[in-house]
């Protein structure tokens, strides 16, 4: 198995331009500017099968092809470095360890879509990463990879960093655009879609940090090389972030389609303290939990969807047999209640209701009927709001109540937690 994303992470100088160049950096940009038409770049990315790494897995080349070619005004790209899906810490790896990879990908993407201005929307809490990024951009300007007439090609491109200030919803692409414009990050109704009406009403494309970081590799080695990694419909490597009750939590670069079981037991060293596995959330807090007997599943879009969950951001949260699933429900429901932006009544009220019901059960005031009510509220939340936050609030609840109904019932009947050694909240 070939590591191409993280190969140089942690090596001396990988963080600086000198190191990146030594490892072959910016060859892809030179190739694109000298030998490829913008539409050829879009085609190459389409052929590679690359799907967005921000959570939804939308085909990247297809998204790029939605951008109008000729326009009479500016077009924009926003790089989504908001990374706020609980459990997710992979974009940080790119930002901290080899930021030029993502920057090179961003410049190539700008060339492909005829964009001259890009914004990197980075979550406000990533102050250290913001400094690294600013430094990396300054170095890219110095080397003439950014600015006017890049490497004598006639192509101009600027990249600016825009710091967020703490709001999960700003990771949603239209909330992100509102936030760049200086407003509350409340998502916009679609249509119109960002490719037609994005930042300041202009055509805009939003992609995740890792999506951009994949691009130079596709250009250097070709679409068919990329298609040869992973599965037929989930191509390339990705960085899985493993957290929770494992011996070796951390970031692991692996091909899509890699086995969840192997990731937990081989790569992440198995369950800590010799305990047994109870459940796994395989793709960040928004996706449905998988009980221990369902983890024999490849980590790709189709397989996880078939298994009743989702690949999401590839953030694998592992829970051992001490874990109280009601408490998991309380923590997650609290998050979505807190992060609902408030503009859609269903999401605002529904997420609060789910949280209230979970807290009631945790505190011993739950009733058996509450379980059907939780499912009812969650089902009616799905698809009921402008953006997918309502769905993200519903899915974890549906997963927990479906797979751990017995435990919830026991908790309600006895009025207390069935796992005496569980984590506390």
């Amino acid at each position: 198995m070939e590591l191409y994303l993280t190969k140089n992470f942690g090596k001396p100088n990988a963080i600086a331009m000198a190191g990146y160049l030594k490892h072959g950096g910016y060859r892809a940009l030179r190739k694109v500017l000298k030998k490829m038409e913008p539409k050829d770049v879009v085609e190459e990315v389409k052929d590679s099968g690359l799907r967005g790494r921000g959570g939804a897995g939308f085909p990247t080349g297809l998204k790029w092809s939605f951008m109008p070619q000729e326009t009479d005004g500016p077009k924009y790209i926003a790089c989504n470095a908001d990374e706020s899906e609980p459990g997710t810490f992979k974009d940080r790896e790119f930002l901290e360890k080899e930021p030029q990879m993502m920057i090179e990908g961003l410049i190539i993407s700008a060339y492909a879509m005829g964009v001259n201005t890009c914004y990197i929307y980075i979550r406000g809490e990533y102050a250290t990463q913001t400094k690294i990024l600013q430094q990396a951009l300054a170095e890219a300007y110095e080397k003439k990879f950014l600015g006017r007439n890049i490497l004598g090609s006639g192509f101009d491109c600027d990249i600016y960093v825009h710091r967020g200030a703490g709001a999960y919803i700003c990771g949603e692409e239209t909330g992100l655009m509102e936030s760049i414009e200086g407003k509350k990050g409340q998502p916009r109704k679609k249509p119109p879609f960002p490719a037609n009406f994005g930042l300041w009403g202009r055509p805009t494309t939003v992609n995740n940090v890792e999506t951009f970081a994949q691009v130079p590799h596709i250009i250097n080695k070709g679409a068919s090389w990329f298609r040869g990694i992973g599965t037929e419909k989930s191509t390339g490597n990705t960085i899985f972030g493993v957290s929770g009750h494992v011996n070796k939590p951390g970031a692991y670069e692996l091909p899509l389609g890699y086995g969840l079981k192997d990731l937990i037991y081989k790569d992440a060293g198995g369950i800590r303290n010799g305990r047994e596995l109870k459940a796994v959330i395989p793709g960040g807090s928004s996706v449905k939990v998988l009980p221990a007997d369902r983890i024999d599943v490849p980590l790709d879009h189709d397989s996880l969807t078939n298994a009743g969950s989702s690949l999401g951001t590839g953030a694998v949260i592992v829970m051992d047999d001490t874990t109280c699933m009601v408490r998991v429900g309380v923590v997650l429901a609290h998050f979505y209640r807190h992060e609902s932006c408030g503009q859609c009544t269903n999401c605002r009220e529904g997420s609060a209701w789910l949280h209230q019901l979970m807290v009631g059960i945790e505190n011993g005031q739950g009733k058996i009927e509450d379980l059907d009510l939780l499912m009812d509220v969650a089902d009616s939340l799905e698809g009921s709001s402008i953006c997918a936050l309502a769905d993200a609030a519903a899915w974890p609840v549906q997963g927990l109540v479906t797979h751990f109904r017995d435990e919830f019932e026991e908790h309600i009947k006895t009025g207390k937690c069935t796992s005496p050694d569980s984590f506390r909240i």
């Binding site: 250290t128 600016y160 825009h162 709001a167 407003k183 929770g244 939590p249 807090s285 874990t323 992060e339």
Partner: protein, 154 residues
């Protein structure tokens, strides 16, 4: 009042965007860096710099959790209580700091040195439990580690 440097920085930020208003988050970050929190006066000042009404600035300020709408201590301890941290005893971290400093979540110590808050996931789930203090992340926390961190902040 914002310093001259901060005002210059805001000017520079404006060059990045087609509209002034887009620098509001940057301006509020600068205010908070200089003053520790965002007062009504500061919001009015930002509003006048950006040709906005004070209520428009307030609306934005209150939407984003990083902006303190009340004064906080010199060191703002923000402990993550989201799932990956909770699984690794994030609650224990909160309780230990509460005991050690004699304050509850949301409170500031009498000497105004420390404020304790709980926050949602900060992207350190693989190095849980964690807290952020100022710009810095402190990861893989244990009681001795918390002791030594707080020691250096005294």
């Amino acid at each position: 009042m914002l310093s001259e440097n901060a005002k210059k920085e805001i000017e520079r930020e404006m060059a990045k965007y087609p509209e002034k208003r887009a620098v509001i988050l940057a301006a509020l970050h600068l205010v908070q860096k200089e003053e520790g929190w965002i007062s009504q006066d500061a919001m009015e000042e930002v509003a006048s710099l950006l040709d906005l009404t004070p209520i428009e600035v307030r609306e934005v300020t209150s939407f984003y959790t990083m902006f303190n709408m009340r004064p906080v201590g010199n060191h703002h301890l923000q402990v993550c209580t989201n799932l990956s941290c909770a699984l690794m005893n994030g609650r224990g971290v909160v309780e230990y700091i509460q005991r050690k400093l004699g304050i509850e979540v949301g409170e500031t110590t009498g000497d105004e040195r420390f404020t304790l808050s709980t926050v949602e996931c900060l992207g350190s789930c693989g190095t849980a439990p964690m807290m952020q203090i100022g710009d810095d992340y402190h990861e893989n926390l244990s009681e001795p580690k918390i002791d030594s961190i707080l020691e250096t902040l005294k």
